[in-house]
């Protein structure tokens, strides 16, 4: 890109008589051109909506959040490491949904070597005691597991028990461990 002067000798602003003589015209031109683009300035806030609800969500839990403890019934460590917690053989969560159609259950977890060595192969997911499916956990690694939930299994506005049942457990010192759980719950 050329510098503004582009190597030309330019008079300082407003000192050239030719420029001075044309100032009214330049003003009209600038006014006309800027008038063409009708951009608004800063605007007041629009009406506020509360569509997102208030408080922590009851349908999906990120275990990095301390508030998630309100919906953890059993099986998850109280200690938060980065953005996850240790899950034991049986995790029990209490979740609620506002919508029942087109809903998926999702769990984001990491299977450690130790779980596989302890004979771990799968983690069953049960919603209100009904088996939704099994998360294959026979190989170590990061897993995002999603499964559609039958509409009839869900009831809007009521707490539901969701159970994650692993088929193995291992000991870290004297503490029983299963796998690493980052988030779980209902989603779209």
């Amino acid at each position: 890109m050329l510098p503004l002067s582009a190597g030309l000798h330019l008079p300082r602003a407003g000192q050239d008589p030719a420029v001075k003589a044309r100032i009214p015209w330049i003003a009209v031109l600038v006014g006309a051109l800027s008038g063409c683009a009708r951009l608004p300035g800063p605007m007041p806030l629009p009406p506020q909506k509360s569509d997102g609800g208030s408080g922590p969500p009851a349908h999906y839990l990120f275990f990095r959040d301390r508030e998630a403890a309100q919906r953890i019934v059993a099986g998850l460590s109280g200690e938060i490491i980065d953005d996850w917690r240790w899950a034991s053989r049986r995790v029990l969560l209490r979740l609620a949904v506002e919508e029942t159609q087109g809903i998926f259950f999702q769990a984001v977890l990491t299977v450690p070597d130790e779980f596989v060595r302890a004979g771990g192969r799968e983690i069953q997911v049960r919603i209100r005691s009904r088996l939704l499916g099994s998360i294959p956990a026979g190989k170590p690694g990061y897993i995002v597991w999603r499964q559609p939930v039958p509409e009839a299994w869900l009831e809007a506005g009521r707490d539901m028990e969701v159970e994650l049942l692993a088929d193995a457990e291992w000991m870290q010192g004297s503490t029983p461990r299963g796998y690493i759980l980052s988030s779980a719950g209902f989603t779209l």
Binding site: A37, P42, L45, G52, G53, G102, L188
Partner: protein, 729 residues
């Protein structure tokens, strides 16, 4: 049968009034014209006047049958008084050689009959029955121009649509198509007369037939499109330039070329160059002034209605809500590169002998087009090639076959001038046979858009119009369903276009306007994972008093890179202090660049509405909140989607000392979003004025919308031909 009469009356009334105005105009131009050329030129030159008159009637909301009738009768009476109906021309153009004296009229007459019948049939062309006549019908119902913010094509210049409106008032769709057909039929006549006038009568006759008998010309020119009219006007400009018409007349026609089709305005270059070549500098003033005067209504309308005189283009120069710059960027690119087209030789083959990928074809004859360069040997040939280059210069902005129509008369001329005369008759006859309806099927595998048969029964209304339309037009019955099942004033959001001219309800096709894109965004946010509000970026900084905050986008991806097409968006900006969100109050002001109109969507508390840049990301874009005073803050959370990996952010805060950086590009982490996203999206759609959804089973949204209708809050109220009409609950 009465319908046939109303169709013919509507079209003839428009053509007659245009001709009468043209006769009066040409008289004042003091141009000595032979009888053969005077009448055709009168129709073409009168069109700008009639079009401008209709535009003015639209402005004063006087679009009524009676007003048109009275105005037309006044025009005819004035023309009568002016002597327009008397022939003054004593001059005759040189006669054609004997062979051409019967060959040209024969082929022309056959094709003219086919063209008139095709145009008289109920309108089924996609754009004609969709938007060209959709707008005309809307202006007619509303008795004047209307701001249509649901369709970007409404911002194109509508010089020919104004003539359509005149005819539509009396004969509806087919009358409008017949007006266009008149331009189609006028063009070969002009080409013939031009040849006779400039000493190349055989080339003129052959070139005229080359143009007329091309399959894409026949189908386009018999539909309520505008390309044949643009070709005719462009040729007339060259004709009048070579006839040394007064500059103001050239300006009128040049301005009208813009009014007909933006890209046709390049035709004005021809007289400009010719006058400049002859150093007739003073002539440029009346030429440009007249052109500006005739063209001016359209940019003026656009500036008033849409905030952009060049709408729907140049949206970065004149930013507006009507068409997003991002759409324009994508659209312009897609028009330059049609799907499956990979090379220019392939384009040449598609244009001449295939036709499937470029929506029509010109016929095998045009494989000889490169021979037209041999016309450089003659002065007339050089002028034709210059005109072809000028008129064809815009082709690269849209490589569809019909976009060559303004250049085609000149290319035809160059070919006819270059080839030996004895061959021309054979070529013209072969081209006429090869291009005749139902012939291409015999030598082509799957010919593209063309007139495949002569719909004479439908044209004469010997077949029921509704039944024929239902059979021939894919969305006709859907348009009628919309008409029957929705109340007046309904706004129907659709994922694909239907023949809008057959319903009085407003159809907002999701990609055809900024408003449509914003409505679509609501649905897509609820429908697609990567577009949902599930990513959060948290800026944390030392607590401090601030009067304003702004988030700046700092990345400009390299053109062509993976992220070059990313748009930046923010669902919510939440400012906190000590873990508590600052209450938004009336003293707050929000702003953004680009898309300042949408800034509020990032501050409205809704998880489905988002501010979007609607322009590909570039460094310097910002979203800003002013607090109306000092506020203590130590954290800013941005709720965003994951469909913007190229975005890099910096947070800036305004203190009494000025703007300072508070943080750079924090990591992204997941957050939960409401399960009621679908219903919330539909509620916002309702707030946006939408009352119904029209979804086809081939639309990508069909599966989710039909399967989860209750979750969306919609109810199906009708279905036909794969289209489903839903009502918002």
């Amino acid at each position: 049968m009465p319908k046939v009469f109303s169709v013919l009356f509507g079209a003839l009334f428009a053509v007659l009034c245009s001709w009468a105005l043209g006769r009066m105009l040409l008289k004042r131009a003091r141009l000595a014209l032979a009888r053969e050329e005077a009448h055709v030129l009168a129709f073409v030159c009168g069109a700008p006047l009639l079009s401008t008159l209709v535009f003015l009637l639209c402005i004063v909301r006087a679009v009524y049958d009676a007003v048109f009738l009275a105005a037309g009768l006044l025009i005819l009476a004035a023309a009568w008084r002016d002597g327009a109906f008397r022939s003054h021309a004593a001059e005759r153009l040189p006669a054609l050689p004997r062979l051409w004296r019967w060959l040209f009229p024969l082929i022309y007459a056959v094709y003219a009959a086919v063209a008139v019948l095709a145009a008289m049939a109920p309108e089924i062309s996609p754009d004609g029955s969709g938007y060209h006549l959709g707008f005309v019908a809307r202006y007619y119902r509303g008795h004047g121009l209307a701001r249509i913010d649901t369709n970007m094509y409404a911002a194109l210049s509508q010089g020919i649509e104004m003539l359509f409106l005149w005819a539509f008032a009396f004969g509806r769709h087919s009358a409008a198509a017949l007006v266009h057909c008149t331009f189609l039929l006028a063009t070969p006549l002009l080409m013939l007369r031009f040849g006779q006038r400039f000493g190349a009568p055989v080339a003129g006759a052959a070139a005229g037939l080359f143009f007329l008998c091309a399959p894409v010309v026949l189908v386009d020119g018999t539909s309520a499109y505008i390309d044949a009219a643009a070709a005719c006007i462009v040729f007339a400009i060259v004709y009048l330039t070579e006839r040394k018409a007064p500059p103001w007349l050239l300006g009128v026609m040049g301005g009208f070329a813009y009014a007909v089709k933006y890209t046709a305005a390049v035709a004005l270059l021809y007289p400009l160059l010719r006058l400049a070549w002859k150093k007739q500098w003073r002539a440029l003033v009346p030429l440009c002034a007249a052109a500006a005067l005739v063209a001016a209504p359209w940019p003026l309308r656009n500036w008033i209605f849409y905030g952009n005189p060049a709408a729907p283009l140049m949206n970065r120069v004149w930013p507006n809500q009507f068409v997003h710059a991002s759409f324009e960027q994508d659209y312009v690119e897609s028009m330059r590169r049609y799907p499956e087209i990979e090379s220019w030789p392939q384009v040449a083959m598609e244009l001449t002998v295939r036709g499937r990928l470029l929506a029509g074809f010109w016929g095998p004859l045009f494989l000889l087009a490169p021979l037209g360069l041999l016309a450089l040997r003659s002065g007339l040939g050089r002028r034709m090639l210059l005109a072809a280059a000028i008129a064809g210069s815009t082709y690269f902005s849209n490589i569809g076959a019909r976009f060559l129509m303004p250049a085609a008369p000149f290319v035809s001329y160059a070919m006819a001038l270059a080839l030996p005369s004895p061959v021309l008759a054979v070529l013209a006859a072969a081209h006429a046979v090869a291009g005749f309806p139902d012939m291409p099927e015999k030598y082509m595998e799957s010919p593209g858009w063309r007139l495949s048969k002569i719909p004479w029964r439908a044209a004469l209304r010997l077949e029921r119009e509704e039944a024929w339309l239902a059979e021939q037009s894919a969305g006709y019955r859907a348009a009628r369903m919309v008409e029957w099942l929705t109340p007046p004033g309904a706004l129907v959001f659709s994922f694909s276009g239907i023949p809008e001219s057959y319903t009085s309800r407003e159809i907002a096709v999701c990609f055809q306007s900024g408003r449509g894109e914003r409505l679509l965004d609501l649905l897509q946010v609820a429908m697609f994972t990567e577009m949902r509000p599930m990513a959060e970026r948290v800026f944390r900084f030392p607590r401090q008093p601030l009067t304003a905050l702004r988030v700046v986008q700092t990345n400009t991806p390299a053109p062509g890179s993976d992220r070059a097409k990313d748009l930046w968006s923010v669902f919510e900006v939440r400012v906190s202090q000590g873990g508590r969100e600052l209450a938004r109050d009336a003293s707050w002001r929000v702003w953004a660049e680009p898309n300042p109109w949408g800034a509020g969507l990032a501050f409205d508390g809704s998880p489905v509405t988002r501010w979007r840049s609607w322009e590909r990301i570039r460094a310097g874009m910002f979203l800003q909140a002013e607090f109306g005073g000092e506020r203590e803050a130590d954290e800013v959370r941005l709720v965003m989607s994951e469909d913007q990996h190229g975005v890099r952010l910096r947070l800036e805060g305004r203190t009494p000392a000025g703007w300072r950086t508070l943080g750079e590009d924090p990591p992204v982490r997941g957050i939960a979003f409401p399960l009621t996203l679908r219903r919330l999206a539909m509620r916002e759609l309702g707030r946006g004025g939408v009352t119904h959804l029209l979804v086809h089973e081939n639309d990508y949204a069909w599966a989710d919308l039909s399967k989860h209708a209750r979750a969306w809050g919609i109810r199906e109220i009708g279905a036909v031909d794969g289209y489903h009409l839903f009502q918002l609950e």
